[in-house]
């Protein structure tokens, strides 16, 4: 702690070294992601930005139509390789959770068993039609009236069309099934294919069926995730794998502007990795109020560290657990108090010091948590307040246009500033959760400096929003400067943290590797 300066000077040169290392390292990590992602359908459109920062990942947002056409493209491609109809190929692909390579390999080795397990059994090429069978009794409803329309999949299990329809409707509507609906026969695992469905199912269910099918495509693919924003129908593609989540925080942005973590689909939580974030949220949920209360209202027994609330009475405490007798005021041994009961003025005595030491130690972890939690919560709260303030300002933006004669485009700096504030506060918030789980070393000093710089920049900008609208026009240039400074500080902080995360230089006091 005393040698702050040494650490700083030592690190700043080291820091430059890392600048060089970072580029090559960044490249290799990128390659690794690419190798893991041999998905031709999507990776073509991948844009690799030239000056990519360490905290940025490649991603792309897809509309429902995009997702559909990607599916179709892959089906066509594989269908040509396997020599199967596109219906059968679609079933096979869904059956193997869209793992194209595995499907082709397995199919080449033993086509019959692959078809069988996917519910496609021995082929008897015929276009699906319903038909009337003489002397037929439906095994579901026991109806046997002559002229009953019936249907069977290629397995030959025949039922009346009404029963088939009701069966499919229930699967699609009530159970949300699509890709893996089986023949209604007990023990028959043949999958109802898209053509049969088309033939039997009512139009309004068909669209639902399509939605469900598309959904399974995204759900099955490791490199696709639904945007978690309410009512957003887009999916985002990103090559970061679960096992990489200890080394990178993959924040992606959907076409709807929502920024979320591809690893855990929570809102953007850079710079903190997914696992600490999860633990932090859990801890906050469980502990925060309790910890605050404990901190304000209790002390620990100097001997056994049990938490004690003094709810009245004198200063002569007897720990209920270990029977240790001490003074609530000075935390010293009660036996040394002599006759000066009820009036402790023995602050400097040895036993009191020891007592307070023990107290301080057990308090430390609690206070440490509260230190980070309060700052975390503060930024969360401030982000909300900033937003409120901005909403008020927005209404005044119209006024500003009138009073200062500025055009709509010229008052947009307020919008830009507000968005920068939101993003920076989001980052700041998570720097505290990150720091809570961080073990101290000389890099944490740099981290904290970055944190402090960003915090100051943010507070300076935030302050400007409180100015009366009339003054805002004159402050435009200043505000734009402060906005870009905020963004710059944020990039510096995130880049530094992400670099060290990639190289595994941060030491955490929790496990950060997924599935470890």
């Amino acid at each position: 702690m005393d040698s702050d300066d040494e650490f700083m000077s030592g690190l700043s040169s080291q820091d430059e070294d890392f600048g060089g290392v970072e580029e090559s390292d960044d490249g290799s990590l990128g390659d690794e992601f690419d190798e893991d992602n041999p998905d031709v359908g999507f990776s073509q459109d991948k844009d690799i930005k030239p000056g990519k920062k360490a905290y940025e990942v490649d991603f792309k947002a897809f509309s429902p139509e995009d997702i559909q056409s990607h599916q179709d493209k892959q089906i066509d491609e594989v269908s040509a390789i396997l020599g199967q109809s596109s219906e059968a190929t679609a079933i096979l692909l869904r059956h193997l959770r869209w793992n194209k390579e595995r499907l082709i390999e397995a199919y080449m080795e033993r086509p019959d068993s692959v078809l069988e397990t996917a519910g496609l059994g021995p082929e008897s090429a015929q276009a699906p039609t319903t038909k009337v069978v003489k002397g037929f009794t439906c095994e579901i409803c026991y109806d046997d009236i002559p002229g009953l329309e019936t249907y069977a999949l290629k397995c030959g299990h025949r039922y009346c069309v009404d029963c088939y329809r009701q069966y499919l409707a229930q699967k699609i509507k009530d159970e949300g099934e699509a890709a893996r609906i089986q023949c209604p026969t007990n023990g028959c695992h043949r999958i109802v294919d898209a053509k049969s469905l088309d033939l039997l199912v009512a139009a309004e269910l068909k669209s639902r069926y399509q939605v469900l099918l598309t959904r399974t495509y995204v759900d099955d693919k490791e490199n696709l995730k639904w945007c978690p924003a309410p009512n957003c129908e887009y999916a985002v593609e990103c090559g970061v794998k679960k096992r990489d989540l200890g080394k990178i925080v993959p924040t992606v942005a959907c076409a709807c502007k929502h920024r979320f973590c591809f690893g855990c689909t929570l809102s953007d939580h850079q710079p903190a990795p997914c696992l600490p974030v999860k633990q932090w949220l859990k801890k906050c949920e469980d502990d925060s109020e309790t910890a605050n209360w404990i901190s304000a209202n209790t002390k620990e027994c100097p001997k056994c560290s049990s938490t004690i609330e003094k709810n009245g009475g004198c200063n002569h405490m007897t720990c209920r657990k270990c029977k240790h007798e001490f003074c609530w005021m000075c935390m010293g041994l009660w036996s040394e108090h002599g006759t000066s009961w009820y009036n402790c003025n023995r602050f400097e005595e040895r036993s009191g010091l020891d007592g307070r030491d023990a107290q301080a130690k057990s308090r430390q972890s609690l206070e440490r948590y509260l230190h980070y939690y309060n700052r975390y919560a503060n930024h969360e709260q401030s982000a909300k307040l900033d937003k409120d303030l901005y909403n008020k300002t927005e209404r005044k933006m119209t006024g500003l246009q009138l009073t200062s004669g500025m055009s709509w485009i010229e008052v947009q700096f307020l919008d830009t500033a507000s968005q920068a504030l939101q993003t920076c506060r989001q980052t700041l918030k998570w720097t505290y959760a990150f720091a809570y789980y961080l073990q101290r070393n000389n890099m944490t000093e740099i981290f904290e400096d970055n944190q402090k710089d960003l915090e100051m920049a943010v507070e300076n900008l935030s302050e400007m929003f409180e100015k009366p609208t009339a003054e805002l026009a004159a402050l435009k240039v200043d505000m734009m400067d402060k906005t870009s400074y905020c963004n710059k500080r944020r990039v510096i902080l995130l880049d530094y943290t992400a670099q060290k995360l990639k190289t595994g230089e941060w030491k955490f006091n929790v496990d950060i590797a997924m599935g470890a």
Partner: protein, 152 residues
């Protein structure tokens, strides 16, 4: 549609009853609620007892599975040890049920379960553990319960 099938299944089971089972309708007006009496199968710890079961057919039957429950208390890993006596495994689960499955299969399934419990799909973890680790104790308890609750 369901009515026709239920009536037919019921009359077929009356014509050709399953071994050791008697089926009746508690209310003639309601074909959806059946009562079944099962004799504890020979060679099982339930031998000598008679168990009352309740079979309820949902309005969506046969597209949704029937629910089967023990009205007589029974010491069994797959039957809840409460006043419901419910079971939820195999073909009784909505995702495994197929509309072509018949009630006689459901009842045969229940009987087979008395002969051979499925501890890996248990609703009563404690009984399942005992069944797997201390069969002797399980048999003793199951017999005692049969004697106490399922006496003819």
């Amino acid at each position: 549609m369901a009515q026709k099938r239920i009536v037919k299944e019921y009359s077929e089971l009356q014509k050709k009853p399953l071994d050791g089972m008697r089926i009746s309708l508690p209310s003639e007006a309601d074909m959806h609620q059946w009562q079944i009496l099962i004799d504890g199968p020979k060679g099982s710890p339930y031998e000598g007892g008679v168990f009352t079961l309740h079979l309820s057919l949902p309005t969506e039957y046969p597209f949704k599975p029937p629910t089967l429950s023990f009205k007589t208390k029974i010491y069994h890993p797959n039957v809840t040890n409460d006043d419901k006596g419910s079971m939820c495994l195999g073909m009784l689960r909505a995702d495994e049920w197929k509309p072509s499955s018949k009630i006689d299969a459901v009842l045969s399934f229940a009987k087979a379960l008395l002969l051979e419990p499925q501890p890996d799909d248990a609703v009563e973890g404690g009984i399942a553990r005992e069944y797997k680790e201390n069969k002797k104790e399980f048999i003793k308890n199951a017999k005692a319960w049969t004697k106490q609750y399922a006496k003819k």
